[in-house]
């Protein structure tokens, strides 16, 4: 850890004891559901169910609705047409959830044990404890996590085989060394929550350690411009890909883009520039601060972008040569499965990881000292409320709960692998709108 705790060990013990007991009591239904908790996308049920999964690795069957929110559209109005009980696969039938990332037919093979991995959250937007917890969990679960655009704290290097190095428009913390570490390098062209708007880390979160990592001045706001100032075409983009592959010939390249009108053409361009993975980031997700107008209004939700791109890739004859990843509003295991049924190969999750570690989605990440639960903060006191080990434990449990749900769902659909689910819209049903 790069900074000394700003609080005594006894206080850390006291606060974490109360918080952990509180997460337990709320998610086990021992006390009432907090009346001010939740919103249409992340209902109180979803939040408490995710706390429960983070603690137990199981779903809170019968206690909370853990599959969908109440947004009235998208994933929340899709359901699976499961088979009658007699036609399902046996409860102990083996199920393959693995996700191969390189489908180009050459180069390094990289297959994840789960069909989802962790999205980019930068050092600075979250604490080093959180980064480390995510890396540890990814390492244990056989999946990946991403640095986000904030550099690569040395403590992550131990888990380098499971850490994606993100190269974004500000190039903060990007070094040859960290590109060479990475099994996959992720170009972030845009992000769903603030598409086309770049990034902004407030001065109050740019601590000495954060600025050292980013090569900037402490306590000064940092803007990650939009877009890459060196990329104005697919050819420019290919130059970027070539640059990464020169530095690390073994790396896979992922291209993270938002969901504009022509998202299908963007995916095609990314493929021909050499990307192994096209990562679509829909407009309803995001963990960092963003203008409210952007989150709600700019670019399309991921549920609408995935089928558009999937169908276009099929039409172009390259669907089986590219891995399509969906993110930005993937909250639950059922969202992961629905995204795949709509045409993705896998998904990226981030908010649900924070919720599993105690986030209430209060949206005050950028206010004052940052997250009062110790998640999206670099405050030396607040970050102590989540230790890397506790965080990794919660995330491991969340991944287990997701995996169990996905495996159960595949058996109910009569499928043996998650790859068989891709593009199976015939297994989905659109639900009538619930009365408001």
């Amino acid at each position: 850890m790069s900074e000394e705790p700003g609080v005594s060990p006894l206080t850390i013990d006291k606060v974490t004891h109360y918080l952990h007991a509180g997460y337990h009591a709320r998610s086990w239904g021992e006390v009432e559901v907090p009346p001010a908790l939740g919103d249409a996308r992340w209902t109180s049920d979803l939040i408490l169910a995710t706390w429960y999964m983070g603690e137990t690795g199981r779903v809170p069957e019968g206690r909370f609705e853990y599959r969908v929110g109440a947004s009235g559209g998208g994933f929340d109005r899709l359901a699976f047409k499961t088979l009658p009980a007699a036609e399902r696969r046996a409860a102990d039938a083996p199920v393959d959830l693995s996700l191969p990332l390189n489908r180009r037919g050459s180069g390094r093979e990289l297959t994840l044990e789960l069909p989802f991995y962790g999205g980019g959250m930068s050092y600075g937007s979250v604490s080093e404890h959180i980064l480390l917890a995510r890396a540890m969990a990814a390492h244990r679960a056989g999946t990946l996590t991403s640095t986000g655009e904030g550099g690569y704290p040395p403590s992550l290097a131990r888990y380098r085989d499971r850490v994606i190095t993100q190269v974004a428009t500000g190039l903060f913390g990007v070094e040859e060394r960290t590109i060479q570490y990475a099994p996959m390098v992720e170009f972030k062209y845009a992000q769903g929550a603030k598409p086309g708007l770049g990034g902004h880390l407030l001065g109050s979160k740019t601590t000495t350690a954060v600025s050292r990592m980013r090569g900037s001045v402490p306590w000064v706001s940092l803007f990650s411009p939009f877009p890459f100032h060196s990329v104005y075409s697919v050819e420019d983009h290919k130059k970027h890909v070539d640059w990464i592959l020169t530095v690390n010939p073994e790396a896979l390249v992922s291209v993270k883009v938002s969901t504009p009108v022509d998202v299908d053409m963007v995916a095609i361009g990314s493929y021909y520039a050499g990307a192994h993975v096209v990562h679509l980031d829909g407009s309803f997700g995001g963990t960092g601060a963003a203008p409210e107008i952007a989150k709600k209004n700019i670019a399309m939700p991921i549920e609408l972008a995935v089928p558009k791109v999937h169908k276009h890739l099929i039409k172009e004859g390259i669907r089986d040569h590219l891995t399509l990843i969906a993110s930005g509003g993937i909250r639950t295991a059922h969202d992961v499965a629905k995204a795949i049924a709509l045409g993705a190969d896998g998904a990226v999750i981030a908010t649900s990881e924070l919720v599993a570690m105690g986030c209430t989605r209060c949206s005050n990440c950028e206010r004052g000292r940052g997250c009062p639960f110790g998640l999206t903060t670099t405050d030396p006191e607040l970050q102590e409320w989540v230790t890397p080990e506790w965080g990794a434990e919660r995330l491991g449990n969340l991944y287990r709960a997701f995996s169990r749900q996905l495996a159960e769902l595949l058996r109910e659909l009569g499928l043996a692998t998650i790859r068989e689910l891709r593009g199976r819209t015939d297994l989905l049903r659109y639900l009538p709108e619930a009365p408001s």
Binding site: P34, N297, D426, Y430
Partner: protein
């Protein structure tokens, strides 16, 4: 035909000879931010450039509103908790006094025994940590701040924007419903690689929000010596695509018209105000657009100077001719409600020479037949396109535009500029009393002690926040001027169409159709 225009063009700006020169909206002493000049350079002669800027200032609420959250503390349980902790951590006062709120709710002299509820932001840490001691609930009293369309949530956002001119920024993702009807069923495009300009961090620093009201020529003719032969229709240049629309009838005699006039002048736009009120209060000036009923045309003679722009209440061919002939240098906008037969009236007015229209829905965004303003605007835009008239006509619109996001969406649907109505009232903490559906019947209570300085600044703050949010949309789309957004439907995404494409093969899916 739309010519590219630099927002900051000012002194010495080249204009066609026949074009009226608008009165300067801002004194030269305000000019700042010149470019192309070194720190010691003497400003060169010729055009000078100034970046448009709205001066924002912290302008706290006048009315003390109900807190967002109620903090309910069980005092006996709190006392027991404290005693337990004193015993457990005796001597370690930093641990005993470590409170479960980083915003100071329990930071008063007696801590949680008298929580400072006004500081609560709803993070819920206290109630997670001590579920048996603290309970946080949303304050139901906040529900009375709006009506069924200008909802309390929208009012809350407007109040935030009007307080300091900031655009709302929050952590974590979107929290609302998936699309919806009206403006909610539309998303705007973005570009992965195109930005508005190569200047600045994001390229949005130099986006122009200038719009011009008035007609436009299909083509220009020049003499052999290069002189422009085509007569230019009158035009009024606004620094931003926002006008201030007249207050509801119940507040016509209040201080609001004078506040609107002054705020419009400071913003570089126009305030639409009834002629009678303009004359009675002596409000005439370059930032005021008098609204004239056909029977009032003669009364315009009482204005101290010819107006820069006029609004005619309803279509009246004779009154229109009298206005255009009597005030040839003024833009004359015809104000048309979305009443039955508005399409025929619009085309008849264009045929008679009208080139600027103010299309008006009610405060809830509905036309006479109940259709929503977004659909009505799209219909108007498409009608003019089909008739080959769109580029000759300026469209202003109002009604139902109550959030910053509605402005770019309304412009995408075909407007050139938006006239703001109820959001201006909300910015001044004037909340609807019952349902505020139309200008004639709506009742809003003004806060006691409302002064012009405070009110003008709140309007400017709101305009600044909405302009900044418009810049976010334009920046994301890679557009460098708002005029290019008008009717750019290829850059709009409609939920109904996208869902039909995405879910068309999913069992049970039915296209939304008329729901939009």
């Amino acid at each position: 035909m739309q010519m590219p225009r630099v927002q900051s063009l000012r002194d010495g700006e080249a204009r066609p000879a026949a074009a009226p020169t608008p009165a300067p909206l801002r004194p030269a002493a305000d000019e700042e931010g010149e470019v192309n000049a070194g720190p010691h350079a003497v400003p060169p002669p010729g055009p000078r450039y100034r970046r448009y800027h709205i001066d924002t200032a912290d302008t706290p609420d006048l009315l003390r509103l109900p807190h967002r959250f109620r903090v309910e503390v069980r005092r006996w349980r709190l006392a027991r908790l404290l005693l337990t902790e004193v015993g457990r951590y005796f001597g370690r006062w930093d641990t005993v006094l470590n409170r479960p709120c980083v915003y100071g709710v329990f930071g008063g002299p007696v801590g949680g025994f008298k929580p400072r509820q006004e500081l609560c932001v709803g993070c819920l840490r206290c109630t997670v940590q001590h579920p048996d001691v603290v309970r946080i609930v949303r304050n139901p009293e906040r529900r009375r701040l709006g009506d069924s369309y200008l909802t309390p949530e929208r009012v809350e956002t407007i109040l935030y924007e009007a307080k300091a001119g900031n655009l709302p920024v929050r952590g974590q993702g979107y929290r609302g419903r998936f699309g919806g009807t009206g403006f909610d069923g539309m998303w705007t495009d973005m570009s992965e690689i195109v930005r508005p300009t190569r200047d600045g961090i994001h390229g949005r620093e130099t986006i122009s929000t200038v719009v011009e009201l008035g007609g436009a020529c299909d083509h220009l003719e020049f003499a052999p010596d290069g002189a422009l032969l085509t007569p230019q229709p009158p035009a009024a240049t606004l620094e931003l695509p926002l006008l201030l629309d007249l207050p509801p009838d119940s507040l016509a005699a209040s201080a609001l018209p004078a506040i609107w006039a002054r705020a419009a002048g400071e913003l570089g736009t126009l305030a639409v105000l009834p002629l009678a009120g303009v004359l009675a209060a002596g409000l005439a000036g370059p930032a005021v657009m008098p609204l004239v009923a056909p029977a009032e045309v003669a009364a315009l003679a009482a204005l101290p100077a010819p107006p820069r722009a006029l609004a005619l209440a309803g279509w009246d061919r004779d009154a229109f001719r009298a206005l255009t002939e009597g005030y040839p240098e003024a833009v004359v906008a015809v104000r048309l409600p979305f009443a039955a037969g508005w399409q025929a009236t619009l085309l008849a007015a264009v045929a008679a020479g009208a080139s600027t229209f103010h299309l008006e829905a009610d405060y809830h965004g509905r036309g006479a037949d109940g259709e929503f303003v977004l659909d009505l605007l799209l219909a108007a835009h498409r009608l003019l396109l089909a008739e080959g008239l769109r580029d000759r006509v300026t469209l202003i619109g109002s009604g139902g535009i109550v959030a910053a996001e509605h402005v770019p969406k309304a412009i995408l649907a075909g407007l050139d500029a938006v006239a703001l109505d109820t959001p201006l009232l909300a910015a001044l903490q004037a909340f609807p009393e019952g349902e505020a559906r139309d200008r004639a019947g709506a009742r809003f209570g003004l806060p006691p002690g409302l002064g012009p300085e405070w009110a003008v600044q709140r309007v400017k703050n709101l305009a600044a926040a909405w302009r900044d949010q418009l810049l976010e949309i334009l920046g994301a789309m890679g557009l460098r001027e708002v005029r290019r957004l008008r009717g750019e439907l290829g850059r709009a995404m409609f939920q109904a169409e996208l869902e039909a494409e995405a879910f068309g093969d999913v069992e049970g899916f039915a296209p939304r159709g008329a729901e939009r």
